[in-house]
Each structure stands twice: as structure tokens, then as C-alpha cells.
Symmetry: C2
Subunit: 229 residues, 2 copies
DNA sequence: TCTGACATCAATGTATACAATTGACTCGAA
DNA sequence: TTCGAGTCAATTGTATACATTGATGTCAGA
């Protein structure tokens, strides 16, 4: 008898989903590097499944932009170029400002308080040196809170996808350049503008915030490309 | 001997790709209606393939937003709601304006001339009553020409995806409301502003152009939902 | 040495067969 | 009647086996 399972509606995860999560994680953590080929048979054996769920997972990951899947050639981890980072961050700035614009009026004091709580968690994590995992997660949770009342599900999905994707770059940034120094004060300032319900100023500031992060990362990448080549 | 095939690099399309095209076409043409379930076995038999490529095609179409794929429940054609149309067209306005902004400076007289040629084709098609297929295609070709120098591949891909997606609504619009009346003059005006290299005015006008189409379609959908329900 | 056709092999693409899940239906008990 | 456990069929999920493709290497001939 499966008492536990019958009590709460356990949603049976398919192997495809599990495989997708596993591979996604390894890509985001940098364990699978840019350009690296992902062999179906190897992944299948490692994860104890057949190649079918592996293939389907790779297709999903391709849709998320983490993987390139070419017919008869196989899948590779999506490569990073400075110009792509540039574009992605511009898109984020554009879309996130749009989300904020639609959400800001409807945000309540409760929302601001939980946003502030997230900020404190974030700062605490930074102080504790737990930049790696926590920052990306808490950072997007904070931003997400600000957009939570936007009622723009497709836009949010796009933004989340881009965010998850840029996490790779950000992580690299943190790892190699010693932390994203600007973030803390900027987040405080952004929150202040939101609390004041100053829509235009908040959106402008948000755009500058994201664009600033973009410039940091882009410069770093360009430097790396020069050294590498 | 396969002379023809050996001469030009024929790219062997996988069955998955063929199946995806077939289903996509049927969805865009309205042959598969919103909310309709897509049974893997039925599709497989109809297209003379096994269920594997059908499943993979459905996953691709889900990524394109044409299909919803729920684990253990199967795939259905994505449903349309007025609020989704609203959001999609807002996104298009935002992203296409961004593309135009980045492209406009670099557009040459040649580009304008081929854009104008496309406009004439479009008007000819309209006059000939060939609204259905031609309009969607020519319309996006015209817009695409204006964005062609933007060097923003990811943004363009997004826009193209949304465009292809909204084709369904537009088609419905044309079909049931008797044609998108405003387009011809608006396109001319937009082209004029672009030729004048008046970036801000052109982007503003483009946004109004797209938003106008949105309002038309949204009103229609709301009317239909009232009648239907 | 170079070229190009052919053989070979690793990897992907797909068919078939089987397992697992869902939802509808039945039926008996409260 | 109403509820819930249990069965069954339809459908999806996955393993296995086979087919096909593309890359590499070999070798004959110029």
C-alpha cells in the first residue's frame, strides 16, 4: 500500500523531466562546458535510462536555449558570444521594464516587505560568501517579486528563461571577477523608487541596472576572448 | 544514380521535421482547432511514421507555442484567449520597435526599394482577393525587411515566432471580419517615415500600427467569446 | 603527392514492443 | 443517492532493436 503517495497528490515526474533537470543543472553549474557535445548514449547510461527520454530532454533544453540540437550531428551545449550576451541583456532590460511598468501600480506594502526580506537574505548570503548558488536564485526571486502583479505570463516566462540562461554568464562573472559588486545598493535604490510608485523613474533605473550588469559581463567576456585567442 | 541529389547539398529532412511541418501547417490553417487533442497514434498512422517522431515533433511545436504538451495527458492545440492576444501583440510592438530602432540607420535605398516591392505585391494580393495566405506571408516579409539590418538574431527569432503564432488570430480576423482594412495606408506611411530616417517617429508609428491591429482582433475575440459562451 | 571512390564505424534517427498512468466505468456499501 | 475502491480500456511513456546518416580512413589510380 502506498499510503504516502495517496495522501498528497504526487505528480509522477517522467524520466524525460528528470533527465532534463539533471542536464540543465550540469550546464548551469558549468559541469558541461560551452560547445561540449552531449552524447545521447553516454547520458542515457549515466542516468540509467534509454536514449528516448534523453533525446526528448535535449529537445526541451534546446527550446530553453541551453542546447543546440542539429539533425544527425547531435546536441552541444550552446556557446556564448559577447554579442549574444549583449542582446540577451538588452532584451531583459526591455521586457523586465515592461513587466515592472505593468506590475508596479498593483504592488502592495506586503509585496514590498517580502521583497525587502529577499533583499536581506540576498545580502546575508553575499556576506556569508554564498554567492554562487544563492545569488542567482535570490536575485531572480527579488526581481520576480517586483513583477508579480504584472499579469503577463508569457512575458514572465520569457524573462525567466533569459534570466536562467544568463545565470551561466553571471556565474562565470562572479567566479572569475570576484563578485557582482554593484548589486546591493542598486537593489535598495530600485526598491525605494518602487515604493514611491514612481513608475518612470523605477523603470529607467531598472533598465540602467540591467544594462550595467550587461556591460560588466560583456567587458569580461571580451577580455577572455582576447586572452583565449 | 542520384545525380540531382549529389549536385546540390540536399539536406535530409528527418521524419520529425516533416511531421512537425505537417502538424504546424494544419494548426495554422485552422484544420486543427484550438483545444483539440492531438493523439500520437492517430497522427502517426496518418503520416505513416511511428509515434517517436510524432512525439518529438509535438515537443518542438510546444516550444513554438502552438501546442500544449502535458505529461500523461497528451498534446492539445494551444487555446486562444483575448488576454493572451493582448499580451502577444504588446510584446510584438515592444520587440519590433526595438528591431526597427536598431535596423533603421543601416537600411539602404535598396532595402527600401525591395520593401516597396513587397508592399506592391501585398496590395496586389489584397486586390486579387488573395488575402488568406499571401497577406500573412507578405506582411511579415515587409516587416522583416525593415528589421533586416538590426543584427539581433534572438530578438528576430522571438518576433518571428510571435508573428507566426498571431497569424492564426489574424487569419481568423480576416476570415470573420472581412479583411484588415487599415493595413495598406499604414504600411505606406511607415515606409515613408523610415525613408526619412525619422527613428522615433517610425518606431512610434510602428507601435501604434501593431497596437491598432491588436485592438481590432481583441475586440473581435471578445465579441466571439460572448457569443460562444 | 594528390584525388576521389569505397569501406567502416560511431552516432543519430526511427520502428516496434512493452510498461505505466489516467479517466471512465462498475459496483457494492453507507 | 452518494461515495469510494477496484477494474478496464485508451493513451501516453520508455526500453530495445534496427536503419540511416555523416565522418574518418584506406587505397587504387593519375
Amino acid at each position: 500500500m502506498q499510503l504516502i503517495e495517496s495522501i498528497m497528490a504526487i505528480e509522477h515526474k517522467t524520466r524525460t523531466q528528470l533527465v532534463a533537470e539533471a542536464i540543465r543543472e550540469k550546464i548551469l553549474l558549468g559541469e558541461f562546458k560551452s560547445g561540449e557535445p552531449l552524447r545521447q548514449a553516454a547520458l542515457a547510461e549515466e542516468l540509467n535510462v534509454s536514449r528516448i527520454p534523453v533525446r526528448e530532454a535535449l529537445l526541451q533544453l534546446e527550446a530553453e536555449g541551453l542546447v543546440n540540437f542539429e539533425a544527425h550531428k547531435g546536441a552541444t551545449v550552446t556557446e556564448i558570444s559577447a554579442s549574444q550576451v549583449d542582446e540577451i541583456f538588452d532584451l531583459r532590460a526591455l521586457l523586465e521594464a515592461e513587466l515592472l511598468r505593468h506590475s508596479l501600480e498593483k504592488l502592495s506594502e506586503d509585496d514590498f516587505q517580502s521583497a525587502e526580506a529577499l533583499l536581506q537574505e540576498l545580502e546575508a548570503a553575499m556576506a556569508a560568501g554564498d554567492t554562487q548558488a544563492a545569488t542567482g536564485h535570490l536575485n531572480s526571486a527579488f526581481h520576480g517579486k517586483l513583477y508579480s502583479k504584472a499579469e503577463r505570463p508569457q512575458t514572465r516566462e520569457l524573462v525567466e528563461q533569459f534570466s536562467k540562461n544568463s545565470e551561466r554568464y553571471v556565474r562565470m562573472h562572479i567566479l572569475l571577477a570576484g563578485g557582482l559588486n554593484t548589486a546591493p545598493e542598486e537593489h535598495r535604490e530600485l526598491l525605494k523608487l518602487c515604493r514611491a510608485k514612481n513608475v518612470d523613474a523605477a523603470c529607467d533605473y531598472l533598465i540602467r541596472h540591467i544594462t550595467g550588469a550587461k556591460e560588466d559581463i560583456k567587458n569580461l567576456l571580451i577580455k577572455m576572448e582576447e586572452q583565449g585567442a
